[in-house]
């Protein structure tokens, strides 16, 4: 069914050039290069410890590679801070769900909008709120100021952001858990909420770190469907990491295979599947 239409795959949006990453004496990534094109679903796969998550952390600026460059939207950079990645349109999810467990689904997804909130009133409200926590004795007064600042433009802005979030809730079909604290949700739904928070940033490039890890077959199918739909509806470029080959091969346009920090294959799923090095890396070698 997903071959029925032709997605518009454009120019290179992110180019990884000869990246090497070391932690002391441990070589996590060695001389890896690839490029991700606008609008595609791009997967990085490999056995445990192959350097997949390290690669993702390099892309969003959490790790700084010792060698190599990353070109994102035409700008070459070596060092970047994660929040800078976020504000230039890179969003991600985490291998081990990283949500605010005590907050509701709705509030968790709203946090994805934080970088998009611009109004000075919002900032005042936000900072006053923080200040209120720090200065306990004065908290009531400061909260009052914060509440006052919330009226007018700030409230308008909140409504606008809430509308975006509601569309995401509708899109991911999680209306029933809108007001449920995330900690109470089963794992598969938490993953979906995390995807929702990443989508709330309206990213150009979405990095998914093992979105199907720990899921049963049905949850995997659901998640695959959502990944395809996100790509299709919003035209978002998606780079995902998985070590379950089956799912990835079905939904990806292109696949890169890492093993012991080196790239051993790069191409369309069918080519990669037949690549003898890949088979060897996954199944081991007969001795």
């Amino acid at each position: 069914m997903n071959e029925a239409h032709h997605r518009r795959i454009g120019d290179t949006v992110l180019k990884v050039d000869n990246i090497s990453l070391r932690f002391g004496g441990v070589r996590a990534i060695t001389g890896v290069s690839f490029d991700i094109k606008q609008g595609e679903i791009f997967s990085i796969i490999g056995p445990n410890g192959a350097g997949k998550t390290s690669m993702l952390n390099v892309i969003n600026g959490f790790y700084h590679p010792q060698e190599g460059t990353i070109t994102y939207k035409g700008t070459v950079r070596r060092r970047m801070r994660p929040h800078h990645a976020a504000s230039t349109g890179i969003a991600r999810t985490f291998q081990n769900v990283a949500l605010f467990r005590g907050m509701t689904t709705l509030d968790n997804i709203m946090t994805g909008r934080l970088l998009k909130m611009h109004g000075p009133a919002v900032r005042i409200a936000y900072r006053m709120g923080t200040l209120g926590v720090l200065l306990r004795p004065l908290a009531a007064g400061i909260d009052f100021v914060a509440d006052m600042a919330f009226w007018g433009p700030a409230q308008q802005e909140e409504i606008r952001h809430r509308a975006v979030v509601e569309r995401i809730i509708d899109f991911l079909e999680i209306q029933a858990i809108r007001k449920t604290p995330v900690g109470r949700l089963p794992y598969g739904l938490q993953k979906r909420v995390e995807l929702g928070r990443a989508l709330a940033m309206e990213p150009d490039l979405l990095l998914l770190d093992e979105p199907m890890a720990g899921m049963n077959v049905e949850e995997k199918e659901d998640m695959s469907r959502f990944v395809l739909d996100v790509n299709d509806e919003f035209g978002t470029t998606i780079a995902l990491i998985e070590h379950d080959m089956g799912v990835v091969m079905d939904i990806s346009d292109r696949v890169v295979v890492l093993d012991y920090g080196r790239k051993i294959a790069d191409g369309k799923p069918d080519d990669v599947r037949r690549n003898p090095d890949v088979i060897k890396a996954y199944l081991g070698e007969a001795h």
């Binding site: 079909e173 739909d229 299709d232």
Partner: protein, 654 residues
Amino acid sequence: MTPAAAASTETFPALLELNARIRGGRPAIREKDLGIWQTWTWKQVRDEVRVMASGFAALGLKRGDKLVIIGDNRPQLYWAMVAAQALGAVPVPVYQDAAANEMQFVLEHAEARFAVVEDQEQVDKLLEIKARCPRLEAIVYRDPRGLRHYTQPFLHSLAAVDAMGREHVKEHPEFYDEEAAKAKGGDTAIMLYTSGTTGQPKGVVLTFDNVIKMARMSVELEGLTDKDETLSYLPMAWVGDNMFSLGQTYAAGFCINCPESSATVMQDLREIGPTYFFAPPPIFQNILTQVMIRIEDASWIKRRLFHFFMKIARRVGSDILTKNPVPFSLRLLYWLGEVLVFGPLKNTLGFSRMRLVYTAGEAIGPDIFNFFRSIGVPMKQLYGQTEATVFVTVQPNDQVRLDTVGVPCPGVELKLDSNGEVLYRSAGVFKEYYKNPEATAETKTADGWVHTGDAGILDRDGHLKIIDRAKDVGRLRNGALFAPKYLENKLKFFPSIKEAVTFGAERDFATAMISINLDAVGSWAEKRNLPYSSYQELAAKPEVYELIKGNIEQVNRDIAQDRELAGSQIKRFVLLHKELDADDGELTRTRKVRRRFVADKYADIVAALYGGKASVHVEAKVSFEDGRTGMVKADLKIADAAVAEAQPARALAA
């Protein structure tokens, strides 16, 4: 005022005009979308329907065409029904969770030219069967998500159809009113396919007169007004939803609410707090289970409060609801319970404002029924059929009972034929089964009586009791009515009885084979220090025989109240050495007893039940869960149960 409204109010388009005129600013329908309840007033609904109908006309929908409607309860799908009716076309709602090949039968049989569906899921199903449904010309979808790349020329978004409609209205401003005015009360309003447990589904043809007359009757009977609110969450293809969400709404002018999704129904129920609600027994069962789980998890004090006040509620709650006299002290305690427990509980469930709650479809368990009534939810039972446009009998508010389905509705005639089958005649009696005159003739007599296929009895107050499917009901040799499922259901309401199989047709008396419930009887035995090591050993204990005997004698006393059934009290019974099991073929996969199979398999036991022996030796093959089989040998005791004195027959009020 438009000509359609002036002409009559015997069709839905005409009733819509009327509502738009007399309560145009009041809410007609709501839907929760993107987290917010969106409201349309009667005037807005009228305008939407007008545009949609014109759009359908521009697309080529003609008088007499069939238009299938597939999806969850959505305002636009309800409007599509009335829009089709305004053009003289017939809406045919289809169960939205049906598989594509099941839909194919309905589409072909109804010769549907148009389909209005909710989303991609339904579009995909129709595309799958499109080649086999040559008459299907156009598919209109509401939700464009995922459909952007579908290029088939016969696919139209509802937004595009509405745009065509607005153009059409501009060019032909008189068109809608002229078309809508042509409809008459006797015209077909809707076709509903009955799910058909046996054979192919049948298309029940209902006229405007059927639906609107029954709607008006029920609105008057229950005092529904335009201040009422209800939640539309049951399948649109089911006659009940058509009556509640279209018939009664248009007749009384109240507001219906469409849930955000099928997963949010319980939350939406709470937010809306409807005054009028329908649910089949399993839904109430679910709610009750949820409540009990939450209570068990609640703090000690809350748990104590709940159990204390529930004890009072069970004693007097139902009496207070029916306004029967209750001692002042208990009334006071109940009031306290209302403040502390029942009120907050009802509020959490969304039941605070309920003033009319129907349940129907199957026998409801006493614990469920009593729970809701005792906390002040005015639940009552009705009995209906698609062929009757829902209403046959309803319980009057002051005569709500667990084991009856009430008295005939105003204007409904009811009678029982010689073998106990229930027949009725009313303004709601369907016109025909579409393209199936044989089935129509089998079900509906020339003078308008409809065979329900259900066997029933009328009790002394003229209440109808449904006891079984008519074809399963037999007679003892002494002529007494024998309704196996009725007896078995009564037995299975006891927690200690898991399954029961009764025999009696063409016999001298009735007998029962019973599988005990290992959990319930097991814990009962533990409390009494009765040791046992297996199901078989537990079931053979004399104490357990006494326990079950007590249950059976209770059932005997119950049915002794009914003149017709009193003769079929259970005289002898046996406790089986194993649970009846689908793996052994004794139950269907949906856990219904395969009576004939059981009778053959345990022919020795049946013979012993009627042969007067005190015990019987059985050797039976059993299948284990891993697929292995083994032999079980046992000597089963056969016990007698006391028969209650039959109540003296009194003359029946006609």
